[in-house]
């Protein structure tokens, strides 16, 4: 559906900075997150995890644990069936190992007991016999023909013959004649890059409370980005119908994609079923790092050819990703996103996914894109240096725009890349002088954004207030934005609208909160639901006035006659109509269900200034500016917040964050001490510039914004550091030992 012809521009509520509805609860400690919910009779659930990177489970003896006084249930994968669906089976096998343990931290068994001490003692009594197997954690090692085999026969039809046994997927995108393109280039740069796996680093560990009744009905309270998806996965794993399981999403303490699947929830439900009591499981931080869903790590080759005026004539990338011990499709998105910012005649990306003995990957803000775009933007920057060209001018010269056939197939409609590049060029940051040991870097960023299954219900209350019911956990302030869109459409003050997030027993399906989809898709559905309610209200008023329904229009929160010919009637406000609704036919509501399409892509550009201490390799970020196209910023504070938060995650990824595995295949830094996310003193202010190039696919022009900002920092910082020290770097993170080594290699 194309809203271009009727994209609104005269907004009353959209674009203002209203207070968020959950603010008071969160600043007073009243808000309830995953671990904050308690019920009578609750048992403590704990999970036993593998200390080995790869081993067969020869036997598990739980008898001593089950016999310990105070223990109510002990389970292993033997307590579950084996799902037929491959994807569901992988999820289940990740939650509780079946036959083999595939990574350090892989769950093997779980207990429910009356308190933590008893549960811990019970775990110690579980006897597991393992036969150790060779393991592999590095992506390139895992792709080899003679690599230890993580799982047999998991390759899909896309994998070319002759690939190593751990390669599960291959993809290819692009168009044009690469050889001809490279022949036109006056300079070609070909480089290889590696990035380490990172974790979303949400401060709230996974937590849930499961209550399985003897009648086969179950309740689950959990911190999640998608309660409907949790319901689908858990009901599938437990072999019950979806309607028998009600999942309620708590307030969520950060997700960023990492809470779009399940890890402990099926385990808690299975324990509760066996124990006949509610069971609460809260993950420890160590287990979050070892056994939830980090990103892929990557090894990549990029080759780009450029004329001396800066025109890219050909571009090619080979991306090798590992997504842990289960098949992972993230490389598809990386391969599609890699060159999305450019208008290219000849482009090709190829991607491979390989299995490793590492935890199962989960999404982390624009999954697959940050590493691929890091590699591409690094090579573009190197070409700019070699040819002594301004890096922004080169981006502008080659920028994708409306009508560009993208590197991944679709032709772009209106997009905001040129606007962000022009804004960066005009900004004071780009002109600010740099001192000794300082460097400036920039990078473009891109994300597709998604629509998806969405259901919204909107009730006009008899007192003239409005209740919006939606099904997507609020991870960035979306409840406020949804209320704002309802208020805008209905023409009433924001304060009259309350948006709540419901559990799975209400509404139709809602896809998870991801893909930057909520403000777009739930917003779109809310606007449609509001329009349905408006139509109903106009119909009621038409009856009261005795005129045709299409002679009544809605304006400024009132039903009005469409013109003098319709009749001379006093407008009726929403509150007036609502007050008499039971006499005019009954309660008034609107609803809308859709699998939303038309999500607009979001482009961004980041500028980063750094200073490097040449004697220690220590890097300080001096100045940082984020330029991004939001389509229409519904609540500018929250759009800025996404830009700043994503940028800082990217800064951490670029400078310090990484998963470190030892020779033994065990994770060495499973905690916030040695998994180093940015702290407040590491950073300057993050300045933001919001561009608004409306998305024709949304009534107000909204584009998703949450994911794009994590993409540019990787190359922006790498380019800045490389320029500061005069040596090109090609691996992330750029921790001080690596930088110092590069500095010393110059002499």
């Amino acid at each position: 559906m194309n809203f271009q012809s009727n994209t609104k521009t005269d907004f009353k509520v959209i674009g203002t900075r209203v207070p968020r509805p959950d603010g008071v609860d969160k600043v007073t400690g009243r808000a309830l997150y995953g671990a904050d919910y308690n019920v009578p009779g609750m048992q403590v659930g704990l999970i036993l995890r593998s200390p080995h990177a790869h081993a067969t489970i020869d036997s598990i003896d739980v008898s001593a644990a089950a016999a310990l006084p105070g223990v109510k249930a002990v389970i292993t994968s033997a307590d579950l069936g084996i799902p037929e669906d491959e994807g569901l089976r992988d999820v289940q096998d990740n939650c509780l190992a079946r036959g083999k343990v595939l990574y350090d931290g892989h769950a093997i068994a779980a207990v429910a007991a009356k308190d933590v001490a008893t549960a811990k003692a019970a775990l110690k009594l579980i006897k597991v016999e393992y036969t150790l197997l060779p393991h592999v954690t590095d992506v390139d090692e895992a792709m080899k023909l003679d690599a230890p085999v993580v799982q047999e026969a998991r390759a899909d039809e896309s994998v070319p013959a002759g690939s190593g046994p751990n390669v599960t997927h291959f993809c290819e995108f692009g168009h044009g004649d690469l050889d001809a393109g490279f022949a036109l280039a006056e300079t070609i740069v070909e480089r290889s890059f590696t990035t380490a796996a990172t974790h979303q680093g949400y401060i709230e560990p996974h937590a849930c409370l499961a209550s399985y009744g003897n009648d086969g009905k179950a309740d689950l309270w959990c911190t999640t980005q998608g309660q409907y998806f949790v319901r689908d996965l858990c009901s599938g794993i437990l072999g019950i119908e979806g309607s028998q399981l009600r999942v309620t999403a708590s307030e969520i303490g950060g997700g960023f994609g990492g809470k779009t699947t399940v890890f402990i929830e099926p385990v808690a439900l299975a324990l509760s079923r066996k124990a006949g009591r509610p069971v609460k499981i809260v993950m420890s931080r160590v287990d979050v790092f070892r056994a939830t869903g980090p990103t892929v790590s990557s090894s990549m080759d990029v080759r780009i050819g450029m004329t001396k005026d800066g025109r890219i004539t050909a571009a090619e990338a080979k991306l090798r990703y590992q997504g842990g011990a289960f098949p992972c499709g993230t490389v598809d998105m990386g391969a599609q996103a890699a060159f999305a910012a450019y208008d290219l005649q000849a482009v090709r990306t190829q991607g491979w996914n390989t299995l490793t003995n590492r935890p199962k990957e989960a999404a982390y803000r624009a999954p697959g894109a940050p590493m691929a775009i890091y590699a591409v933007e690094s090579v573009v920057d190197e070409l700019c240096q070699k040819l002594s060209l301004d890096p922004l001018d080169v981006r502008i010269l080659n920028a994708a725009d409306a009508g560009t056939k993208s590197s991944y197939g679709p032709t772009f409609d209106q997009i905001g890349l040129r606007a962000t590049l022009d804004a960066a060029k005009a900004h004071a940051h780009y002109q600010a002088p740099l001192g000794e040991n300082q460097g400036r870097g920039l990078s473009c960023g891109f994300w597709f954004n998604f629509g998806g299954n969405t259901s919204v219900s909107l009730a006009i209350n008899a007192d003239g207030t409005v209740g919006v019911t939606e099904g997507n956990p609020d991870i960035g302030g979306s409840r406020a934005s949804i209320s704002m869109m309802a208020a805008e459409e209905l023409g009433i003050p924001y304060e009259k609208v309350r948006t709540i997030i419901t559990d799975t027993s209400s509404l139709g399906q809602n896809d998870v909160t991801d893909g930057s989809r909520v403000t777009f898709a739930v917003g779109l559905a809310t606007i449609k639901a509001a329009r349905a309610a408006i139509q109903e209200m106009c119909g009621r008023v038409a009856k009261i006035w005795g005129i045709d329904a299409d002679a009544v229009v809605w304006e400024d929160g009132c039903a009005k006659p469409s013109g003098p010919n319709a009749g001379d009637f006093e407008p009726m406000t929403l509150a007036e109509i609502a007050a008499i609704s039971s006499e005019t036919g009954g309660p008034i509501a609107g609803h809308h269900e859709v699998n939303a399409e038309g999500a607009g892509v979001s482009f961004g550009v980041h500028l980063a200034d750094v200073e490097v201490d040449p004697e220690t390799g220590s890097t300080r970020v001096l100045r940082y500016t984020v330029f991004q196209d939001a389509g229409k910023a519904v609540h500018p504070d929250y759009v800025e917040g996404q830009m700043q938060g994503g940028a800082v995650q990217g800064i951490g990824w670029a400078l310090n964050e990484e998963y470190i595995y030892g020779e033994d295949g065990r994770l060495q830094n499973a905690g916030f001490l040695d998994y180093r996310i940015p702290v407040a003193s590491d950073l300057p202010n993050i300045d933001t510039v919001i561009l608004e190039i409306p998305n024709p696919g949304h009534p107000y022009g909204v584009r998703g914004v949450g994911e794009t900002p994590i993409v540019p920092p990787l190359a922006a910082l790498s380019n800045a550091v490389s320029r500061a020290i005069g040596v090109r770097l090609n691996a992330l993170p750029m921790s001080p030992p690596k930088i110092l080594k590069a500095v010393m290699s110059k002499d």
Partner: protein, 158 residues
């Protein structure tokens, strides 16, 4: 195992609880005293989500034993608002979008309040270093620092 009976002062009120010797103050607040504002983000003192004030100093409640609360003055986020009136920091955080998911917010509010009581006019750098032990993954800290400055100005003016 010998349980311990602890008498303490919590947000100005006398409070008592019984806990196991190895239970932390965080466990006691959340499981014995019904206060879930302080959160466990790591259990190792690296994230600050469990920050409370103990005898006027900021501590990680996960690194204090429940038993050590005996005769101490403990203050948590639940004690910051007075009746209906939010503390200026709490109001500033809402007004200036200094929280997104909010999980780190109680710890940061308690920490910032302690700072402003010691130093009513801090620089941005001083605020950043004071809050270095409070991890936030959502905001990138920018709006948090700004909200603390706004609340500080408000409190100096009032």
């Amino acid at each position: 195992m010998k349980n311990i009976h602890v008498s303490t002062t919590l947000n100005g009120d006398e409070a008592e609880f019984v806990c196991a010797p190895e239970e932390t103050l965080l466990d006691a607040l959340r499981n014995r005293l019904g206060l879930s504002g302080a959160k466990e983000g790591c259990g190792t003192g690296d994230c600050g989500a469990c920050t409370v004030e103990m005898d006027g100093r900021l501590v990680c409640a996960c690194l204090v034993l429940g038993a050590e609360a005996q005769d101490a003055q403990i203050k948590t986020v639940e004690g910051m608002a007075i009746g209906e009136a939010l503390h200026p920091l709490q109001q500033a955080f809402i007004d200036h979008a200094a929280l997104q998911c909010g999980i780190c917010t109680p710890g940061i509010l308690v920490a910032a309040k302690n700072l402003l009581e010691r130093n009513p006019d801090p620089t941005d750098t001083e605020i950043r270093y004071w809050l270095a032990g409070n991890l936030c993954r959502c905001t990138g800290y920018d709006k948090i620092i700004k909200a603390v400055q706004i609340a500080a100005a408000d409190m100096r003016g009032a």
